[in-house]
């Protein structure tokens, strides 16, 4: 219990700040909703890129899986958005478990490309082959079919805001918990030296599989939230060339950190917002920004903040061990 509390402080503070921001800038609510949803997507990619060191050029596919799972359910089967969301989570889990073993044994560049190929085929399937179900480019509309769920009526934007924020808080707490757990350390260890992890006796294949599946689940959750938020989906949400967005947000925020994805998303969406007021598309800005981060600012926003904080306040970790050591030295 103590540990749950420990990993909750940071996320709770962040969500509190977001709430403050929402009331300070009431007309920015749509932006903040997207911030929360996209952050979850970036967190998924951060497990792959930041923790495990795997680049995927096909993350939109996993987002699309989640979005379409919810959308197809709401448009054709049921009316309860929460059931749609559960379905998306399940799809994310299944897709991750099935594709994982085939993909993660590949070397990095092949991994990136086979994900891109998966995304292309997957979206083609949704757009063209499943046309009767997904209505292709026209998209699926189901806003009117969504029913009320207990406590909050998430069909209302300001209520959905609270709902999305609550999900974001839960995910962030779990994410922080993962980061501090043995699993988080194992991910980071595999990133730099997988063979040493094997010789320490860990099944690195399964650990990477877990990471891949977690990324898939988080992307699907994010896609589901997008679907509920918009009340419709079309294939443009998961176009293969949008693979860059999530990578860039991960890089800017600080790969391999807990809060990096949030700040990366904040910066990315902010820049996109600003840039799109001046030029129609944002590829140029995003490309330049990525190069800048890669060459000049490689730890990203949160990575650098953390480094400065560690410098200023000293590292707080392993206090208990240090105490143990001083006790031993005394006796």
């Amino acid at each position: 219990m103590n540990r749950i509390l420990k990993v909750s402080y940071g996320p709770a503070l962040l969500v509190f700040l977001i709430l403050m921001a929402r009331f300070t800038f009431p007309n920015k609510m749509t932006f903040i909703i997207e911030l929360a949803i996209f952050s979850i997507y970036v967190m998924g990619n951060n497990i792959l890129y930041g923790y495990l060191g795997m680049v995927s050029f096909g993350q939109p596919f996993y987002l699309g899986v989640g979005a379409y799972a919810t959308a197809i359910f709401l448009a054709h089967v049921g009316t309860n958005p929460l059931v749609g969301m559960l379905l998306s989570l399940l799809m994310g889990l299944v897709v991750g478990l099935i594709l994982g073993p085939a993909f993660i044994r590949l070397r990095g560049d092949y991994f990136a490309l086979i994900n891109a190929a998966t995304c292309a085929i997957g979206m083609f399937t949704i757009e063209k082959l499943l046309l009767p179900i997904t209505r292709g480019d026209d998209g699926l509309w189901y806003r009117a079919r969504m029913s009320q769920i207990p406590f909050v009526d998430i069909r209302m934007p300001d209520k959905f805001f609270l709902f999305a924020l609550a999900i974001f808080l839960i995910v962030l707490i779990l994410y922080n918990f993962m980061d501090k757990s043995a699993l988080g350390s194992s991910f980071r260890a595999i990133r730099v030296n997988e063979s040493k992890m094997k010789f320490l006796g860990y099944d690195t294949f399964k650990i990477r599989w877990i990471g891949f599946t977690l990324a898939s689940i988080l992307s699907a959750l994010s896609g589901s939230l997008y679907a509920i938020n918009f009340g419709f989906v079309n294939p443009s949400l998961a176009e293969p060339h949008r693979a860059a967005e999530v990578l860039v947000a991960t890089l800017i925020g600080g790969a391999g950190t807990v809060f990096g994805p949030f700040f990366g998303t904040l910066a990315f969406l902010g820049i996109k917002d600003l840039v799109s007021q001046y030029i129609a598309h944002w590829e140029l800005a995003v490309g330049i920004l990525t190069l800048l981060v890669l060459f000049r600012f490689s730890k990203g926003i949160w990575g650098n903040t953390e480094a400065i904080m560690n410098e200023k306040f000293g590292k707080k970790r392993n206090r208990s061990v240090k105490k143990l050591l001083t006790d031993k030295a005394a006796t």
Partner: protein, 293 residues
């Protein structure tokens, strides 16, 4: 399937192969020689196509369009190699991938800025049809096949007969040793890169009349080019040629059988190749290509 449709499909496939070969070569050599994954090759391809569009609409001469396409693409390749890629040689493969992908995005941004978002049509320079084996083939497609063939022969000659070509070959076989031979590896890299990007530009300008020239044309081609390179084996020029020939037929004949196959079949091929034979057909070495150690 009707045999009357098969023959034209095969000829069409050959012209697709020609384009694929030209645009994939840079990716293949980039990996074989410099050990980088250069995703920005498609910028040169796209610029080649837009130069063809610009020159044809300004002067009406397609030949000028091709020349401008090659020169602009080669110049861009020179800029990118000397200003940026030099800093990433020897870095992790993943790093080179993200860097070159950013360059690709910047290129798309510049294209959007210069030419706008609307696709631009380029009309074919010849509309003559030539009968071959009883099939009417557009002369332009034959022209592409011929050019791709000439390029292949020229590259083979360059690799086998010139000093720099021999150095490139040695570099692909063993990148660490070339430095020791007293060869200026930087210059070799630059020359190779400029040639490869020029060829991608050539591919782009040649493909312009066959497809819509738009800012995102590089994305689809990027995936097809990578499939070609992976099928052939990263780093092998002969492999790139053979797999371009195969992919052309997969796209063209597949599309004739059932039109969605033109898009999906290459990816299915890629899946099979990556998962069951990750070295490709002519991978540089048997070990560790595709699989982690």
């Amino acid at each position: 399937m009707n045999i009357d449709l098969l023959l034209p499909a095969i000829f069409f496939g050959l012209s697709v192969s020609g384009i694929l070969f030209l645009v994939s070569l840079g990716i293949s050599i980039g990996f074989g020689l410099m050990r980088i994954i250069n995703m920005e090759q498609m910028v040169y391809y796209t610029f080649g196509a837009y130069m063809a569009y610009t020159m044809v609409s300004a002067t009406g001469s397609f030949l000028l369009g091709i020349i401008a396409g090659i020169l602009v693409a080669a110049f861009l390749g020179f800029l990118v190699e000397t200003q940026l890629l030099r800093r990433v040689y020897g870095k992790e493969l993943m790093f080179t991938m993200v860097v070159t992908f950013s360059v690709f995005l910047i290129g798309i941004g510049i294209i959007q800025y210069t030419w706008g978002l609307d696709p631009k049509p380029v009309s074919s320079p010849f509309h003559t049809m030539i009968p071959i084996l009883g099939v009417q083939m557009p002369l332009y497609r034959l022209f592409i096949i011929a050019i791709a063939f000439v390029v292949y022969v020229l590259i083979q000659l360059m690799l086998n007969k010139t000093i720099i070509g021999k150095a490139i070959r040695a570099g692909i076989e063993n990148p660490d040793q070339v430095q020791g031979l007293g060869i200026n590896i930087r210059r070799i890299f630059t020359v190779t890169f400029v040639v490869a990007s020029g060829l991608a530009g050539l591919g782009g300008s040649l493909n312009a009349p066959l497809t819509m020239t738009g800012p995102y044309m590089g994305f689809d081609m990027l995936l097809f080019a990578f499939i070609t390179v992976i099928l052939g084996g990263l780093g092998s020029i002969k492999g790139t040629l053979v797999s371009a020939l195969i992919m052309g037929q997969v796209i063209s004949v597949g599309g004739t059988i059932w039109s969605p196959l033109a898009f999906v079949a290459p990816f299915i091929v890629m899946f099979c190749v990556i998962l069951w034979r990750p070295t490709g057909l002519f991978g540089v070495t048997g070990k560790a290509f595709g699989f982690q150690e």
